[in-house]
Amino acid sequence: MGNKLSWTELRRLLAQRAGSNEKEATLFLTAFNTELIKALKRDKQVKINGLGIFKLQAVAPRKSVNVSTGEQITIEGYNKIVFAPEAGVKELVAQGPQENEEITPLKKLGEQAEEIVDILADLGQSPSGEITPEAPVAEEPVVETPAPEEPVVETPAPEPIPAPEPVVEAPQPTVHEAPKKTQPQPKKYHFLRDTLITVLILLLILAGGYYFLRTQIASILQNLLQPQPTEQVAQPAPEEPVAETPAPAEEVQSKDTVPLEPIFYEDLITIEKIRSGSRLTWMAKRYYGDKMYWPYLYDANRDRITNPSDIAIGTPIRVPRLTAEQMDTTIERSRLRLEQLTREAQEACKN
């Protein structure tokens, strides 16, 4: 396989197949080649029934760059010969090389022996239904049979394979012993291997289960140890305890400790109508320099806004002038107020 069918070989085969002499075959083949080229030049395409099409395919000129100088160059267009096999041929070739007794030349001895073993294996498959013992048979007899004996001694398993078997291997082996010995071995081996694999899989599943449940187990344990804290603290604890916990704590603080009287926004910068695409945050950024002050806009327009993230277009928004104190988040009071307003505004977004 894979080697090249030489010109002379093709000539010989053709002469044989077509029932003519090599002279005629040579004449034909050379004419075939020259005519093919001529036809390609003229028609750009030659169709040969039963084989395929030879085509002349144009490759367009293209630009490229000289690698060493960086200079722009054009690679000129050219024609190339392309062969497209017929549909049937293409499919057959696509399946890959197949054993074809008719054409394959004489095989080497080793190959022939292998083939016979294969055929025997096929034969043995139908009556007994067992393929496994066949493979080792070919090797085993040589090792295990020091003295040639008659296979009549013990023939409990009458299999058709053993009889022709000696043809493959020169020495006359007791073929019956071999399969008997080898038969249970692979089975045992398979059984052991299978159990090992199942145990391994079980272990893996257990380990995986433990890994996934670990965090949950930890949280359950925590709940058992400290049953007092509210759910707010307990649940987010395993996930991100640092980020979440301070927030609720402050909430409690700010709500209880700081009395926040409602602000009356009287000093307005302007009144702006909501247009398509407007955002309170962008307006806050425009008027106050930072989008973080957007809850003040919501606070000043509570009577008109139910959901700050969904305001009707055309709604006039009052933009109040914020005092320096309100905008200074370093002052505890204003910071808390802004935080509370933000919470309220975000709450309103859920409406």
Partner: protein, 90 residues
């Protein structure tokens, strides 16, 4: 150009009868087919070689759906012209 024309041309060039040329051509095609299916390359002197090339399995992505699928490995017939033919037909 079609097969019939080619047969006519070859017959003219060789002095063989069209019928004979057709016989030879079909026999030739049969040999080539068998050899190609068996994975053997064929040398056509003064023209080039017809050979099979193995294509590996590869995955493709449908550009619109993003669906991935596997193109199975296969072998293809490839023609490789001789250098001077390549230049002649340039």
């Amino acid at each position: 150009m079609l097969t019939k024309e080619l047969i006519g041309n070859i017959a003219d060039a060789t002095g063989l009868s069209k019928k004979r040329v057709e016989e030879l051509l079909t026999a030739n095609n049969a040999i080539m087919r068998e050899k190609l299916v068996a994975g053997q390359a064929i040398q056509l002197q003064g023209l080039g070689t017809l050979e099979t090339k193995e294509r590996k399995e590869r995955t493709i992505v449908h550009p619109r759906t993003g669906e991935r699928s596997v193109v199975p490995a296969k072998s293809q017939v490839v023609f490789r012209p001789v250098a001077n033919i390549k230049n002649e037909l340039k």
